[in-house]
Symmetry: C2
Subunit: 157 residues, 2 copies
DNA sequence: CCAACTTGGATGACGTGTCAACTATTCCGT
DNA sequence: ACGGAATAGTTGACACGTCATCCAAGTTGG
């Protein structure tokens, strides 16, 4: 490998800014959820995907796939959520190995209560701070970076 | 609160893209470090700040301040790094409560070995994927969002 | 049919982060 | 000088993520 090319001034500004935006925005949104609701950000994501489907139930592996989570991560998360009654596990009759994750009434209540304030926070803290051009620019940047990273990874999906 | 205004199409694209860029880029960079070095991303950050100062030593609270980490978080991190010999704690003579975090030889070796590949990864996965205009746009977006979030928080810094 | 392989999922160990509680020192007003 | 408040730092409990491992149930080739 040739000698390392370090970041120039503009790049440093952008990189540090990006990192810091991530941390402060992520922290603010997750704190907002914890304060205004009974849900964490990971809880919220799981419940969003469950409410999105017909029967409010999904096979564990299918849920992991659409969320792009590792099976193990989802399994741990479901264990924690099950303990609090937000979801339930149910066995799959047609495949003895399989399991469903099922939305419970408490889970539905929780996300319905939490969603409006969360969306408001995203709008208030993010979209209200930037212009329509910024929105498009960011969408483009994201797509290009994602493509680059995934081309770099072993990416057999 | 009036009824919630949900995200429109362009906003959804930008938001999902942004979130996904965060996760894939963060995962790729932290995996790169773990594979090519003996350091994690948090290890790396701590060591960067220690190598940045004159004596390669900082008071715990000063280090926490410049990194914008909670004291508690830093204390846990230092405990783990101390266990691996990357840093050491030293008591402060002029203030009986205080403590220094000191870079060790092993810590210096570790970050010198890890830094080039990490910077290369940032360039390759991020800056090589976007244009100079994108860099400036992102810096601007970040600044505005950070300002907005910090205005929203209780922000007595 | 059955042994090898694959797949779905759970689990345990450990690193990381937050929050709340705690200890020990220093500071400060009277 | 002394008692209460602020400060420095650690600790423990718990949530979250990753990795490696394990197990049970399905699949498949001979």
């Amino acid at each position: 490998m040739a000698e390392t090319r370090w970041l120039d001034d503009a790049e440093q500004r952008a990189w540090r800014g990006y990192l810091r935006m991530n941390t402060v925005l992520g922290a603010a949104l997750s704190r907002q959820l914890q304060v205004d609701s009974t849900l964490s950000l990971p809880d919220f994501e799981v419940l969003v995907h469950l409410t999105d489907v017909e029967d409010e139930r999904l096979r564990v592996s299918e849920l992991a796939r659409v969320m792009r989570w590792e099976k193990s991560r989802l399994s741990h998360q479901v264990t924690r959520m099950e303990r609090r009654g937000l979801v339930a596990r149910e066995e799959c009759l047609s495949d003895g190995r399989g399991a469903f994750v099922v939305l419970t009434g408490a889970g539905r209540d929780a996300i319905e209560a939490a969603a409006p304030a969360h969306v408001d926070a995203v709008r208030r803290l993010f979209f209200d701070a930037i212009t329509a051009d910024d929105v498009d620019a960011l969408a483009g940047i994201s797509q290009r970076v994602i493509a680059r990273v995934e081309a770099n990874d072993v990416c057999p999906s």
